[in-house]
Symmetry: D2
């Protein structure tokens, strides 16, 4: 597959949004991939440079409607489409085409769960058996074999990477987990909304979606798998006046006799050899600037003063490890390419 | 005292920092106050406009050293000096002079507690009996009679205003309180430090002082008073790339049978008639932009999905209600002036 | 008129935009004014606190449609409506009502000029005789007597305050003036536009409207009055990733024998005694942070290395001296109130 | 030279500053280069991850003092040292070592000019004959043969790329050129200075170094070469509240009969085939976000309303094409590597 003379032909469905543009930034440096199709319904017919001037002059195909894509010329598509509309589009794709879906459509495995949070029956439930949840480091085998990868949400990625190994090892209690998460504004997408104007966001900070953010069931579904029983988390997202970056401050209760050093040791052991997940030394907490523009997740562990309390701090770039970077990582795994190919850049700082 | 023909003569010790400048912004619009002295050790001799160009051309006195202040020409001084150096200076002031101290020096009432957190014996412990803790809404009588007011820290202000009434009413449990706090950069002061450079802070977000921030004992001391027994909180501050503003997301466990609506009702009742503290309606969470530049604190209450969990969100401007604005409020109370005088401005938005 | 027992009753037409909110921030501290009506077509029926949460809880009237205003209860209205729609509304107001119009509709005195730049015939040209151009410091007599004041644009304010006196005194040449202007984002208003999203603006800088910004004819009209002959300027606006603030770097050619010191002296003399316009000393250039939130304009003069060249740097807050602050200043002058009343605050820094 | 089995061994002198870190970000993705030495005088002995956490965990050599570098293990060094200290260090290097110097020390060819602007005699003037000015696109042959390349300043890069071809073709006049330049804060370096604190810079804009910035003689030296006679420019830098990015708005007078379209056509022809310099179509002005993190320069041309006036707008990332990216580009040319190797990334947006 990794034949250098024949490149992987990829398409991006929904290339006019930020995750689409970020996929292109990464794929353009990927030596084994070429871009065969770019779609955007409302912008169809335009050259990419008109939608994203920084992506002009690069020989990219013009934007087309999904119905005008020649699927037989593609090996894999990235879906960067809105939630809810993706499922039917993926269901209509040729069966030999592999898919990395950045929407939430295939992340929830339980139909009832999906219906509860999205307000309608899932329209391609039968596809779910071909789907793997694409938190790469924790489901590499699943990703390798899947035809469709459900790329995780940014918040779940930042929360699950630190929490899953600790729950699997019974080092923390499944109850009482509190995830206080903070995200840059690009997570809100490129649609013109008053709430996301520079003047509304700059020089300010706020919580949003308190108690009902749609990433919550995704987090709980995966934690349930790790804990072996239902888990209810407290999850509160906040908006930071920055373009990119996500930090989760996670409050956990440790099992009897466990220390913060034990948690750190367990995470260090779990992620040893992983290119994209690192654990900071005792006394060091990671910051979002350490991962800006990169596919890395950094995790810090701090003892809390409360009984058996510990604090986990994890950081990612919401558009890279939280979206497009992990999507490319999943593609690499699916196709047997080197897992870090095209996404091996370090953070851009300052 | 509130005679319009004789203005209160105030001095600001430590006028070259951000809280000093902010005191001036507020006092310059205060009809009952005049500025009699401004000190700054290293900048002594300079006109104010050289240190803060926006405060030039206003007829303010030049900066002098503390030793050169004519105390007999002052009625009240604001101390905006570094922690640790303030106690001896206050001890050396004439006994008839009233003081609002913005440092942490007189906030902790227990000498051992002070020594533990500041690493040395308190050098003016006997003064403590003349001191009131200046969280105005909750200690108005104390402030009125005190000679010295210990102006609360910004983090304690944002945490105590929502928590204290709920603990006093036994609506929440004293155990397991988690305060995840976020602050603008001005809280770090005006000293040139690499960590606070624009290039280090902008487009990023991080936690700091995890597990050992000095505002923790101040918070716990006051909560202990409200709860009637020792309280240990989890407190994690974060740095937001904005100049001003502070938001605390506080996770609490409610007492049996209590609901989030009960918490909101209790806070609404407690702060009814208060000019500076408001409670947002159900479904609305406050944002820092709603209080930017104003002396307001807004509090929102949200039910959490975890058993008996509730989330309190409070916002202040760290330089106003979290420092200089509350200092002026305390001065107003101490001197029998209208409590909102000079600090009645609404937020500056955008 | 300045009777303290009877307050001026004002209305704000178009109170749901940023200049409307800024008018309220200022008027709420104005001792001689009360707010009688607030309009917003699409938001009619809502309380102000729903549109601007920081303006809730203040006892302000709810938003209504313009057609539902009781004009007989008002003494003066501020029009903060979009360009083009204002002229007919002002024409329909009772003739005894005084008006400060923040739109561009009455700024251009020549009908042809208006038509050229706005693409249609002016629909209330006959009103122009009751209008004064409200650059207060330079047209105080006109403002005092006018029924309608055309409040200047932000760019014209920042350019005309330094340029007009120098042209009037023949110290600079009318030809070859270059105005390189930079503005915060609030100048673009509160409408949801992709170009003004946080993610599009933050961490970037760009020119816009190069060669065809509508503030150009306004600038040239006033400069023509000062120079006594037609003036063509080069004017290029840029967008700065900040909420508020405007800085104009103006390149001029001095008349024979004139020096930069002469320019500074002339401006200093011209603005001596003015509360809101200051000239910085030689060697000091003003910054937007020195005027943030205040009604001040600061002007610096620097000699250029090119023959007879000089550089003028002026700064204002685009929402205050560039819009709502100057509007209140004009109201004060129109009604014989103290000119600085309600707008005497210093900058908010940081 | 471009043998894939033997990598170029490079060192970075001054690796603890922003340009040093940026060199590493780029070189780490360069397939033909390895990092043999990193120096930092005050931080010597530390691992890189302690100075720049995002550069930890990469197997980089620890920081050492310059005196401890084994020069025989290096093929080329990048000097990212402070101005003034570089010349003696470069003079002391082995003569076979090639050098890309990011300081200003070797940019000015005239000893008097250097002395005038830097206040002391140049201490390695004899080296100047081995030096080429590294504005790559305009001096590729010189760079190829030079032992030492004087990497241009960021402001000169942004100004010279648009101006030089137009002067060489006599399309614009050498007199009266005005360069109004705007830069992100990273250009000021990583030293802790009050003026560069987040709180001083954020939400503000200002000019600095008006009339005496040290990049002025560098600009004039190169323009003199192009014009064939002395050129005096007006150059005013400004500080934008963003980490990276530089935009120059350049006002020129066109030669008789020349139009803005002619300028655009000339620039387009000149830079045809260049990977890193692009000219935007008529009606489009470039923005710094289009080049953030990339080695590109984009140039727009707009007719001005003044007689024979035209406006050039150019954008670069000050740390990439304005510093470290161009340094790698120069290394590539010096060593016969593909010119775009390691620096072919597109902009990071948002």
């Amino acid at each position: 597959m990794a034949d250098v003379t024949t490149k992987i032909r990829t398409g991006i469905l929904g290339a006019s949004g930020y995750t689409g543009a970020e996929l292109l930034r990464l794929l353009l440096r990927h030596p084994a991939v070429e871009i065969g199709a770019l779609t955007a319904e409302r912008q169809a017919g335009k050259p990419m440079g008109e939608v994203f001037p920084h992506l002009g002059r690069l020989g990219l195909p013009d934007l087309v409607k999904i119905e005008d894509v020649s699927w037989d010329k593609l090996d894999l598509v990235f879906c960067a489409l809105p939630h809810g509309t993706t499922q039917e589009i993926v269901a209509g794709l040729p069966r030999n085409l592999r898919v990395v879906d950045l929407s939430a459509d295939f992340r929830l495995t339980e139909p009832e769960e999906y219906k509860t949070w999205y307000g309608h029956e899932h329209r391609a439930q039968d596809l779910q058996k071909e789907v793997a949840y694409g938190l790469t480091e924790l489901n590499r085998q699943g990703v390798r074999k899947a035809r469709v990868v459900a790329n995780p949400g940014c918040y779940p990625t930042s929360a699950l990477l630190p929490l899953m190994p600790l729950l699997l090892d019974n080092l923390i209690e499944p109850g009482g987990i509190i995830i206080d998460a903070k995200s840059g504004v690009s997570g809100a997408g490129r649609d013109a909304k008053q709430a996301n104007l520079f003047t509304e966001v700059s020089e300010g900070f706020n919580a949003y979606g308190v108690g009902h953010h749609r990433h919550m069931p995704e987090i709980e579904q995966e934690l349930r798998l790790a804990a072996g029983r239902p888990v209810t988390v407290s999850f509160t997202p906040h908006l930071v006046p920055m373009n990119r970056g996500m930090l989760a401050t996670i409050y956990v209760k440790m099992a009897d006799g466990v220390t913060a050093d034990d948690l750190r040791a367990a995470l260090t052991a779990r992620y040893e050899g992983e290119a994209f997940v690192g654990v900071t030394p005792a006394g060091v907490v990671p910051a979002t600037r350490h991962v800006r523009g990169s596919n890395h997740c950094l995790i810090g562990v701090v003892p809390d003063r409360t009984p058996r309390g510990a604090i986990l701090v994890s950081v990612i770039d919401n558009l890279v490890k939280g979206a497009s970077g992990q999507a490319v990582q999943n593609m690499n795994v699916m196709l047997g390419l080197g897992e870090t190919t095209g996404i091996d850049g370090v953070a851009m700082f300052p």
